[in-house]
Symmetry: C3
């Protein structure tokens, strides 16, 4: 009984038979549309070189901080999961994971993994202590099949566009190779992600800046050179097909400094004498500068604020970043983003996609902002909010003010390649469920809902991300 | 198909057939009750002089910032919509609007307008590029009919009381004329809205204060005269039937200054030397003073905080206030309003209605406050929250703590006269939908729900606004 | 008709017939499980001495600030309800309450009381002016029955564990007597609640500290003695069966001071010269110290932050604390609790249960924290949020990130002994309703849901509170 839910054609649809029927019909319109993934964390080299996937644990457990965090909370220490380079037996990790499987009931991760088992790996058994080895062997066998390499799955998953997230100094050679390969029909595009070059607080900021300054053809020194180098690298990304630049910041604060002031802060930071306030101001200034550059070069600007990174220092020291303890904080967009919007909110062809982990800003700030500024789009529910109920809350919170045209379309934001179809399918089902309720309540006609579902799933990401 | 939804008798009711049946029955109790509109922005002179409505664009598009903002977000510049006095052809604006119509799907505005078309103008076609001219002509023809003047619609809409929002120095002669007119059976009452006389930050504050001081019979100078003049003007409003005073503030902060300190701040502000902190303190003090006056003169006090007005300076400069870019910010009531409630929270017959654009305060602050203080009532969902799903969230958030008796009843808050029936009908349907769920879940008996729906729709606004 | 809802077997279940059927089946698994109440405010002496309950008003109205606050909001002054020791006739209070009964429609209190009437007192009439006396007599008669004493009801309610909340210097003799009584088969355990000894701002802090220092065997003076005395009293509680220590704080701020700094603040506070900042820092330091002690002695640590206590000073002066005007404020956990979690977040067997009155932290902070830190559990919806719709919002907000295993299980937090079954039953019904929806949407299998409902109702509180 338990296994059948992943295969149920009505999964995630509302229970009411009348509404469900409408949801089914809407979903049938978008079920098979190609996947557009304009923001994510898959490694382009893995696609380019068509590297076979590793064993089940190294594919599905160790690198997925959505998974390891839940096990950690239950008392499984991260080194037992092979994290931080700790030596660990894959089968043993897999057994830990299968034993922990009941913890994932009701979670988004549990849902995605169950879908992956069913639809990607053809595994129909429930994970558990007694099935762990059998599932390990079945998935391992699948992973060894020639049809199970990244490029083959890319095609099977029907991915039309996949954006990666890249260091500004990345050569992007894998992207170039894929673009030049006539055998590869899809698009893998880089994303410019300069946090570690903008945030003075970043541990590598100083060395990053020196490398950045050393990378330019012109060799302009100082702040001027820093700005020029960033612009140059953005053009490098544009030349390799990039459509967007992404910014992970503590707050979406923005400020416009004059050049002399900015240069002064910059030199203070290089000399290691910047105060905490200097850092905040410089970071806000550089977020403003990134908007200015986006206005000029056309890269869509996305902002992901409000995550307190590496909350547990001992875990960070032992296992590094992205080890499961980034914890959200409250966010204020209205006042913080204002300096940027004053100058660029109505700039031609500027697209600014605002994400949040703080649901309170959906109805209070993001819908009103996106409902006025032509540049602003509301980012899809992100991270902890990328889950069925949270998605429904998102739509209910923003639609009545901003309609359907001002949202970004779904973003999977994942490094777990094999989970991509499950994530997009979840989103399509939930969008259908939301619209079906509106149809049933006579708030939108069924004809229009059929147009909106296609717009939301397919046209929105193309339009917003200039695909 | 698309057109029929506006006429569907079950619109906005829950989809479940059992719950829907209960909702229908509850709604039938209140469907035809007279409209009580204790807070809104219709111009009394328009009713008094029975001014014919202008053309469709000037009636339904240009003055409605709910509508123009969405079009602006989609790239339509505001001067193309005739805003800021820009010359524009009505039919051309109308075509822009009809072309933009799909943007309004799922929005509250889209819902109201569709209802207006169906039930006020008898237009059954969906707006669109191909129907724009036909609808323009049909609405124009309707507007030219003698039965389509403000006073005739007032009667047809079954409006019993309509409150306007007025400048403290307004003569209120239209209100007086209407009250004296035996042919006009309803009540049009003014609302005292003194923001521009209280907030030092207001661009006209200084000149307003001089005019205010000049208006008094006594001629008392300085702060004492300022306070006396405000009291005098409130009495002028009371004499013209006013039931409430409304306050639009950035925060609901209140503070009680002694008279000497208040006078010092007042004089500093008149001299143009007030600091930002002075301004905040004086504004908080005057909010406290307004409560004191309400305790004395009986005007219901309503507070609308938390809107960052005129967020986009370039748009404000070109098109003035209310041009669609007021953006909410987080609000704190518990600590901010405490000084006021310490002194007046249990004052006899004092009614204080607290509104919010920040939904988080519904369950956290407003329901607990209104669930203790006899003076406090929870304002109906306002502005961006005046929409079906937001209304349901509101009821779910406040009822379990504060019950049904502590909410204000519906407020349409609109300058769009022809949308008034649609707005009130929306509220009545949603209240019925909410109660129907409680009945279906055996949380309230159906008998009681029939009493509550009447209380919420009719008795609450009468009681809370002393109508 | 109205009376039947309290007896309806499907009360609180979703209306959809399919979902309701699933909810019924889930509920049937947990309906009769024993009550575990790991946090509440019943007086142990009442159970020990088996004191007969007083009259209906003194049992159900006067001491219940959920009830008196709603009546106060409606204009009933608290002295008319016998509060603050005011002389009042019980039957008269009861009439006031019955007349006010319609105010409770839709509230959690109204729901509990109706259940109590139906299932504890066998009263099937709706309270009202005409039934007040009859119900008063019926309840009075019931209260006079020998089977209606605390110990008999304890058995009838099937309470396995009941935690009280106690002053650190309490002798706990009632707990000892109950534990030693072979005729009493259940457990009544104390809870260590040291707020009045930790928060310098507490009016009795200084005298409490002197009494605390005087209580120790060692007689160590100063800060060292203070810390030692707290540890000693905790051991006294542990010796009497305590499983947890509870902390009511304005904010969950924590800080780790070195001993010398802490001692300096302590002495300043004893001397009455502590500044407001001193107080905040010392309070944050002591919350950290409480965690340290919990790590050492194994008492589960629970934190209840974010209530602005005694909001209305005049009511506090006349009627004391807990008179219905504690009002929530926004809470920030992520940054505030970090110093504590840095050091103890992964400490072996440390259990930290975080409650909130600010719903916004459920998805934003608590689920992410509990989804990583082995020590952190999400407290059940508390106080104003302990209500059907709020509980559903809670589950929807936390489950997708943290699953079902990281929540505390239900806590009734009540001093109203006779309401305990209704409160637990409400929780069990709502948990069933939530899970039923997930089953109907194919997000969890029905088999698994049957395991989860038992885990949530029974195993979670045992596990989290080390029962």
């Amino acid at each position: 009984m338990s296994q059948s839910i992943a295969a149920h054609p009505d999964r995630l649809f509302p229970a009411d038979p009348g509404v469900r029927k409408i949801a089914r019909s809407l979903y049938s319109r978008v079920e098979s549309l190609p996947i557009l993934s304009p923001h994510g964390h898959v490694d382009a080299a893995v696609i380019e070189k068509n590297v076979p996937f590793p064993d089940p644990a190294a594919l599905l457990v160790t690198p997925d901080h959505y998974v390891t965090r839940v096990m950690h909370a239950a008392g499984v220490s991260l080194d037992r999961l092979g994290m931080g380079g700790s030596p660990a037996d894959s089968r043993q990790i897999w057994r830990e994971f299968c034993a922990a499987w009941p913890l994932f009931e009701g979670t988004a991760s549990g849902y995605w993994i169950r879908q992956e088992f069913e639809h990607v790996f053809g595994v129909r058994e429930e994970p558990g202590q007694d099935t762990a080895d059998r599932i390990f062997d079945a998935v391992s066998a699948k992973l060894a099949e020639p049809g199970f390499r990244p490029r083959e799955l890319f095609k099977e998953f029907n991915i039309e566009v996949l954006a990666t997230t890249d260091d500004p100094l990345d050569s992007l050679e894998s992207h170039a190779a894929l673009a030049a390969d006539p055998a590869f029909a899809s698009r893998v595009v880089p994303t410019f992600r300069p946090d570690a070059y903008l945030n003075i607080g970043h541990p590598q900021w100083q060395s990053n800046v020196e490398r950045l300054l050393g990378s330019t053809r012109s060799g302009t020194p100082g702040y001027k050179g820093y700005i020029a180098a960033l612009q140059e690298r953005r053009h490098h990304f544009l030349d390799h097909g990039a459509v967007s630049a992404d910014h992970g910041v503590r707050t979406p604060a923005t400020v416009r400094l004059d050049e002399a002031d900015a240069a002064r802060l910059f030199e203070r930071a290089r000399a290691g004498t910047a105060s905490a306030e200097d850092r905040d101001v410089f970071e806000a200034h550089m977020l403003y500068q990134m908007a200015r550059m986006s206005v000029e070069d056309g890269l869509v600007m996305t902002i992901h604020p409000g995550s307190f990174r590496n909350h547990h220092a001992p875990t960070f020291e032992a296992f590094g970043a992205d080890s499961g303890h980034d914890i959200p904080v409250a966010v204020n967009y209205t006042e913080a983003i204002r300096p940027l919007l004053q100058d660029f909110g109505t700039a031609k062809d500027f697209h600014l996609v605002l994400f949040t982990l703080d649901e309170t800003v959906f109805s209070r700030e993001l819908a009103p902002l996106a409902g006025f500024y032509p540049s602003v789009y509301i980012g899809a529910p992100w991270w902890f909010l990328d889950a069925p109920d949270a998605m429904l809350r998102f739509r209910a919170a923003v639609t009545e003010t901003a309609g359907f045209s001002r949202t970004s379309g779904f973003i999977d934001d994942t490094r777990a390649f094999c989970s991509i179809p499950a994530r997009h399918d979840t989103s399509r089902r939930i969008e259908s469920a939301f619209l079906a309720r509106l149809v049933a309540e006579h708030r939108i006609s069924e004809d229009r809902a059929h147009e909106v579902i296609v717009d939301v799933v397919d046209s929105s990401p193309r339009r917003v991300f200039k695909l």
